[in-house]
């Protein structure tokens, strides 16, 4: 299959493509899901991250 003799290799080849399809399907299906409000912890974190980035 696919010019590849060993089933263990073409299985890997096919699984690479299938797992990519899984990623595409999951991403497309949940494209607009998971938006979250900005909590006070997020603001504190962003302020500290900005400070750390500027210091480095």
């Amino acid at each position: 299959m696919l010019g590849i003799a060993d089933p263990q290799i073409w299985l890997a080849y096919v699984l690479c493509i299938l797992s990519t399809i899984l990623c595409v399907y999951y991403g497309a299906k949940n494209w607009d899901k998971g938006d979250e409000p900005v909590y006070p912890e997020d603001v504190t974190w962003a302020e500290d991250e900005k400070k750390a980035t500027a210091e480095n």
């Binding site: 696919l2 060993d6 990519t20 991403g27 899901k33 998971g34 979250e36 750390a52 480095n56």
Partner: protein
Amino acid sequence: MDNFAILTVIVVVYLFVVAYLGYYGYRKTKNATDYLVAGRSTHPYIMALSYGATFISTSAIVGFGGAAALFGMGLLWLTFLNIFFGIFIAFVVFGKRTRKIGRNLDAHTFPEFLGRRFDSRFIQGFAGITVFLLMPLYASAVLIGAARFIENTFAGVNYNTAILIYTLIICAYVLAGGLKGVMYTDALQGTIMFVGMLVLAVYTYSTLGGVIDSHQALTNMADKVPAKLAAIGHQGWTSMPALGSPLWWQLVSTIVLGVGIGVLAQPQLVVRFMTVKSSRELNRAVLSGGIFILAMTGVAFVVGALSNVFFYEHTAYKAISLAVAKGNIDSIIPLYVNSAMPVWFVYLFMITLLSAAMSTSSSQFHTMGSAFGRDFFEKTLFRGKQFLYTVSLTRIGIVLGVIATVILGYNLPGSVIAIATAIFFGFCATMFLPSFVGALFWKGMTRAGAVSSVVVGFFGSACWLLFVHQKESEALGLCKLVFGKASLAAGTVWAMVDPIVVILPISFVVAFGVSMWTKKMPQEHLDACFKHM
């Protein structure tokens, strides 16, 4: 204008564009609120490609691509794990919780994340210093990958000069600290990498007669496997090595499992989850992330394996890739690109590799700097007190990291990129994965359980590499010095088994067992960790 001059101009223009985009992104996100809002209005394409650019480096393309020329297409198992664990599981299962817990604990580095989750300065300090000491190995793998390409592309540039050239470029890039973590530069680099690898795949398959015919040509070369490789299990480039042979253990335990599983606990990647704006961005990034990784490691490993057909059937060498590269697998991809591809593509590939290396190197050096300055000194030794020189310590950490990386780059032997990367990834898995999994999913994991697992993971892996896993124990020589033989397990299967196969399960058992018998984390601490979840 000769090739070197043309390439110099292209590289300089590229660096200016990168610098401009960094400045543009920095200006656009001046304060914390901008920083939070920016992600919500940014196109998901930009958001997603920035992950891949940090994940994939010259180590994956040049080092592991070269390894595929040696081992064959069995490396595609690593691509599968890269996509399934490195993208899908990492983003969907680990990423969302890491982001929330990291924000709740105000953690900014991976050691800090673990340290605060288990309320342990020891974990932050120990993780910080081990990351700082071990990461030069991985950083040097990226450096060597870039240098091997420069060396093989320009007749007048030797390997040592190539290392110096790349180091100067990366130093200028890293020292322009404002570029750190800005999505636009990463996205540009990701785009270039994507286009470069796509062209490489299409050109290679079409040159060799199409997908199935080129695979078949590689299958037909099984009788060209050198006797020395056949003796350790090589059965052809479209077959797995013989089950249980030295080559099988190296491919499966060190390369596929070490890197494929180790990706889940990479300090420089885990922090990326904390910087995204919401779970929605992670959902969207899964889509492009999967395609991106397939285009990176999938292409590199297939092309690496197929380079054998090219060199044997389409060149005057009439030899397999390993022989053309004089035994140094790190030179195979650079030699292939320079021999098989048109000149314009060599320029494009140079920029592709520069993009791949820069985006990873800069995050590695910043991780080393913060591990040294913030995690080890400021938060652990100074117990959180800030001194004027704390910032300098982070910068000193970066400088020391660069020096260690360059020294390793000059001194490590050939064919080392994949092994050096796998050792670092393996260490990260055995040290951090059990406590990271516990931090995210098990409120019952105790501080003692996490500490024990981190310590057992580090010393277990170190002892296994020094005294058991023969590939390293023989090279390092300590086992010979102390016990008079290359490996304590010489002649047995254990001498071929990578630490991750033995030490990672032990580290998980220790984390679980110790947590069952030691004091639980206070409820109010757990409530703070898991707030809004």
